[in-house]
């Protein structure tokens, strides 16, 4: 254990207003900490540079799942356990419920938050591809007000995002329009549980008479930050799902993906497996057997 508790300050204003006030008063000074499943690991490894932390734990205004007619709003401090336990999420957004079970272990899921997963911005993040596939919007909040924009605009580079120094993630909004879509997700890790993603593929698609009307393909660990594979999507949109089109889409993915070699896996493996996953996904869609 290489962290020194005495080298860090932490405050817990206890409500959203208090946190925002602090961030506004001292921008860039305070690092938000939610469930700690990322920051406390860095701390124990002696790698937590943030000396001043503001706790988001136990702030009810950030932890909610609210159903509206058009969308569901999920508070940024919602834990993955909350997501798994929400029956309606499992029904309407099954990929989100399933990916929530990918995170670490049961003990991690009770603390890890959706907002923390996104703010940490690892290209291997488990929830990011799902939010991209579900066309999510991000809502951020600061003392200055709120912003709302597509989640696809949130990440700008490796572990870089558009949050201003005084800004917090407030909620994710998922449009309720995927009930009729085929859905697929698969994560490939080092083992069945407690595995960081080597690669993952998440896909939602509206298929009519075997023709792709709309398709959203997102992946983990194929780029510096979570993105959709838009060139691969283009190879599919408007086409019939036959063997030639599927092969063409796989070729497009092989070109579009930009994975790296790292401690966990190789670029070659990630690329090849991602193409295989896409093939598996599209076969399932063609057979009409994708999750719905």
């Amino acid at each position: 254990m290489r962290g020194n508790a005495r080298s860090h300050e932490m405050v817990a204003p206890g409500d959203l207003a208090g946190v925002l006030e602090l961030l506004a008063a001292e921008p860039n000074a305070w690092t938000p900490i939610a469930g700690g499943t990322e920051l406390m690991v860095a701390y124990a490894a002696g790698r937590l540079n943030a000396k001043k932390l503001v706790s988001l734990w136990g702030i009810p205004e950030l932890r909610f799942i609210e159903w509206n007619e058009e969308s569901v709003s999920i508070g940024a401090a919602t834990t993955f356990r909350d997501l798994r336990a929400a029956a309606r999420i499992a029904v309407e957004f099954p990929l989100l419920a399933q990916s929530a079970g990918w995170i670490g272990s049961i003990a991690n899921q009770s603390r890890a938050t959706l907002g923390g997963n996104l703010a940490n911005g690892s290209p291997a993040a488990d929830s990011s591809p799902v939010l991209l596939a579900y066309d999510a919007e991000v809502e951020t909040i600061s003392a200055r007000g709120r912003r709302r924009f597509p989640y696809s605009a949130f990440h700008t580079g490796y572990k870089r995002n558009v949050l201003a120094p005084d800004e917090l993630l407030f909620a994710l909004h998922l449009p309720r329009r995927f009930a009729g879509h085929q859905q697929y997700l698969r994560k490939v890790g080092t083992r069945r549980a407690m595995a960081i993603s080597k690669v993952a593929l998440v896909v939602t698609a509206l298929i009519e008479a075997n023709r792709v009307q709309e398709i959203r393909i997102a992946a983990a660990s194929l780029a510096a930050f979570p993105t959709r594979l838009t060139a691969t999507e283009s190879a599919l949109t408007g086409n019939l799902l036959d063997a030639a089109v599927i092969a063409c889409a796989q070729a497009a993915l092989l070109k579009e993906a930009q994975p790296i070699d790292d401690i966990r896996s190789t670029a070659e493996y990630r690329r090849k497996v991602a193409a295989n996953l896409l093939g598996e996904c599209l076969q399932q869609f063609a057979a009409g057997s994708g999750t719905r």
């Binding site: 508790a5 300050e9 932490m10 900490i33 690991v41 049961i106 003990a107 603390r111 549980a193």
Partner: protein, 169 residues
């Protein structure tokens, strides 16, 4: 006491405690050092092995990843709180009979994970047991007798419940 330290109240195994500690001090260290509950173990410090797991407000957490400030006001249960002094709980007895503990270092965390599993799923399938315990690493047993211990505990509990119900009638 340092000016930057926090005063944190926690209820641990039914007893109220007030702790003075740096807010970033890990709940694990507060339990082991301040409260001398050394049943909670540190195996990795990274939330991977689960030997530090405790129940916090009824939820299984890795105490090595919880800064004590975030445990303010919480109700914590550790392995020491599973059975009254000198007795073994139903779950602990099952582990003893079935060989669920070998070197014993993963055992406290494993018992907490199994406790939560059985609270939520009184009659778990083998796959539910595997998932429920997947965050607790055991290097000695290969997990097989841990699964058997949980199955045995569930069965014993179910039999006891049926007996109570038939008495009640």
């Amino acid at each position: 006491m340092n000016a930057q330290w926090s005063t944190v109240q926690l209820t641990v195994n039914g007893l109220r405690h007030t702790v003075q500690a740096p807010p970033m001090k890990r709940l694990l260290d507060v339990l082991r050092e301040d409260l001398r509950l050394t049943g909670v173990k540190e195996g990795c410090g990274e939330g991977e092995c689960g030997s530090c797991s405790v129940l916090m407000n009824g939820e299984l957490v890795n105490s090595c990843l919880v800064p004590v400030l975030q445990a303010a006001g919480a109700t914590i249960q550790t392995v020491e709180g599973l059975a009254p002094q000198g007795e073994l709980s139903l779950l602990q007895k099952a582990f003893l009979e079935c060989g669920g503990a070998q070197c014993g270092i993963c055992t406290p965390g494993m018992l907490m994970a199994a406790t939560q599993l059985l609270e939520r799923t009184p009659n778990p399938t083998i796959n539910e047991i595997r998932e429920g315990l997947a965050g607790n690493l055991c290097r000695c047993t290969g997990f097989i007798r841990i699964f058997e211990s949980v199955v045995a505990a569930a069965a014993t509990k179910a039999a006891a419940v049926r007996k109570e119900e038939s008495h009640a009638r």
